[in-house]
């Protein structure tokens, strides 16, 4: 059976341009009004004679035309996904974009007006200076826009993180797990008080970790694996020998920073779908390898991959959204169904994280 037909990708990639806000238009108007004032003063001071037609031209070329140009640039930046580029690549493009816009407006102005009358109203005069002034203005526009964009993205991230905190209790650490564990615990207190005690500490570790998950962007993979061990121990009290876990972790990967609760979510999903639905239980396998400057984290479980869109799939959707926001598309999460070498159905979740990343 081909695995590709039976797969569901969780990449959240959208090529959309965000809606403009009132603040955006206020900044556009204010910024270019300032530029207009600068050019007008130059005209009034340096031009030998003053004409109404010149003033109209100045107003057009200092406000409406550059506003249209930068608005177009804004669309272009989003459609080309500049926000996902590495910093220096983005900087080069921004520098070039400012130059292209400045050149084209200066050239258009030159052909239409400047060459004929030989007049430029820049305070310092001359076409070269005009080009520089526009270049500077467009460059400033891009710099300011990126600053605003980053601020907005940070706010969005904060929102998502807060949401994730709630989901940690409601979704990621799913209530089924919590209450079934408490029920097992109640039973263990009578049967095996010693194991009951260690289950209490294990559950506490998991709760503490999931509650603090929203306060940190990343944790060391070693910490995440530590809490996964606690989680597996608690689940083993419930599922007993139906739950078998195998781990193959490259020790060099233990110091890799990972977003908290994401690997845990993958393991929990593997247990939920691979163990709790099979009467005889199954195997959950966690593999971590370093490869091509990325960490590949693979969680495999026995059991058929059933890509049914249900409300519980949102744990993975949430994970994919967080990855996209944190890593700008450099991380990926994919869930696939396949058949193992021994002919067993299995579900494979593959998480790829960049090793060097500067958010």
């Amino acid at each position: 059976m081909a695995s590709t037909a039976n797969s569901r990708r969780f990449h959240v990639r959208t090529r959309t341009v965000p809606k403009t806000t009132a603040l955006y238009w206020i900044c556009q108007a204010a910024g270019w009004s300032g530029f207009l004032a600068y050019v007008l003063v130059g005209y009034l001071v340096f031009a030998k004679e003053h004409q109404l037609g010149d003033v109209v031209t100045i107003i057009l070329t200092s406000t409406i035309v550059p506003i249209l140009m930068t608005h177009g640039l804004r669309h272009w930046m989003y459609l080309q996904r500049w926000q996902d580029l590495r910093e220096w690549r983005r900087k080069v493009r921004q520098f070039a974009a400012a130059a292209v816009l400045a050149l084209s407006i200066t050239a258009a102005f030159g052909f239409w007006n400047g060459l004929e009358h030989g007049r430029v109203w820049m305070p310092t005069g001359g076409m070269g200076w005009m080009l520089l002034a526009y270049w500077w203005a467009f460059g400033f526009w891009i710099w300011f826009y990126e600053l605003a964009h980053q601020r907005r993205r940070r706010n969005e991230l904060e929102l998502i993180a807060r949401d994730a905190q709630l989901r940690a209790l409601r979704g990621q650490l799913n209530p089924h797990f919590l209450f079934n564990s408490l029920n097992s615990l109640r039973s263990l207190i009578a049967e095996d008080p010693h194991r009951a005690k260690s289950m209490v500490t294990g559950l506490s570790e998991i709760l503490r970790y999931s509650l603090s998950a929203d306060r940190k962007d990343t944790v060391l993979l070693a910490e995440e694996i530590g809490v996964i061990d606690e989680y597996v121990a608690v689940e083993r009290a419930r599922f007993e020998d139906r739950l078998r876990v195998e781990k193959a972790i490259d020790p060099r990967a233990l110091s890799v920073p990972v977003p908290p609760m994401i690997v845990q979510t993958l393991v929990e999903n593997a247990v939920k779908h691979g163990i709790s639905t099979l009467p005889a239980g199954g195997v959950v396998r966690l593999e971590v390898a370093l490869q091509d400057r990325t960490a590949r984290i693979v969680v495999t479980n026995t059991g058929r991959f059933a890509p049914v869109p249900d409300e519980r799939g949102f744990g993975l959707q949430n994970a994919a959204e967080r990855l996209q926001l944190m890593y700008h598309g450099l991380a990926s999460l994919a869930i696939d169904g396949s058949v193992s070498d021994s002919g067993e159905q299995q579900t494979i979740a593959t998480l790829t994280l960049p090793l060097e990343f500067d958010p």
Binding site: F179, L185, S187, E191, F239
Partner: protein, 234 residues
């Protein structure tokens, strides 16, 4: 007082043991058995003698609902669930209860008291009940309350009270499961509960139309009209 024979169905051993301990203090409760999955539970239930079923909803290899759907007649059911009480609330008409795990002993006692009350109120033997499911909604309904089954393709619509659920069973399969003394095949599409027949009108061609509870009217085919006359001897 005859003891209540209970069956515990839960895939987790610790959960079953906990329920056993909770039930141990109930003097008139006898634990007739336990099962870790729907298939084992079905076998035990078919063997008979179970009065109360403690049923976990989420289990590997078939949910608690799947189990109930496979049974011809269901005992008193008390659902035990960790979180999804909303699933139990899907029930429209029911003489059942649900307990949230971990279970409070007082809640368990109250649920058992309710079962005893219902049993005392009913004539012996207790009324036969079936589990019906239509999408998200479920019913546990006494067979004697069902007025009519009507075939809709491979499915069947059941009529009882004001409810009209469409169940995923063919009329053929249903007919083989109900008492032929009570349910009469009026036509290719209709299976009528004779105890809900309030009147019979003559139609053309020597055939009849039966008037049922709830103002339902069903035309009886010509061949079956003759049989109806013989059965009811009028």
């Amino acid at each position: 007082m005859t003891p209540l024979n209970v069956l515990i169905v839960d895939d987790e051993r610790l959960a079953r043991n906990e329920l056993r301990r909770l039930l141990a203090v109930q003097a008139d409760v006898a634990i007739a058995g336990e099962a870790a999955n729907a298939a084992d539970a079905e076998a035990l239930l078919r063997a008979g003698g179970i009065d109360v079923l403690f049923l976990d909803i989420q289990m590997p290899g078939g949910s608690g609902f799947d189990l109930l759907e496979r049974l011809d007649t269901v005992p008193a059911v008390i659902f035990t669930t960790a979180f999804d009480e909303y699933a139990v609330r899907a029930f429209e008409v029911s003489a059942l209860d649900y307990l949230l795990k971990p279970i409070r002993p007082e809640r368990l006692a109250a649920a058992l008291a309710k079962v005893r009350e219902i049993r005392a109120a009913q004539k012996r033997p207790p009324r036969e009940r079936v589990f019906l499911r239509d999408g998200e909604r479920c019913w546990i309904v006494a067979v004697s309350d069902i007025v009519l089954f009507e075939a809709e393709g491979n499915y069947t619509r059941a009529f009882f009270g004001t409810e009209r659920p469409l169940i995923r069973t063919s009329l053929q399969a249903l007919e083989s499961r109900v008492d032929p003394q009570v349910f009469f095949r009026a036509s290719r599409r209709h299976l009528v509960n004779l105890r809900h027949v309030h009147g019979i009108d003559e139609d053309v061609d020597d055939s009849y139309v039966v008037r049922l509870s709830g103002g339902l009217r069903v035309a009886v085919s010509r061949r079956q009209s003759r049989k109806l006359r013989e059965t009811l001897s009028f």
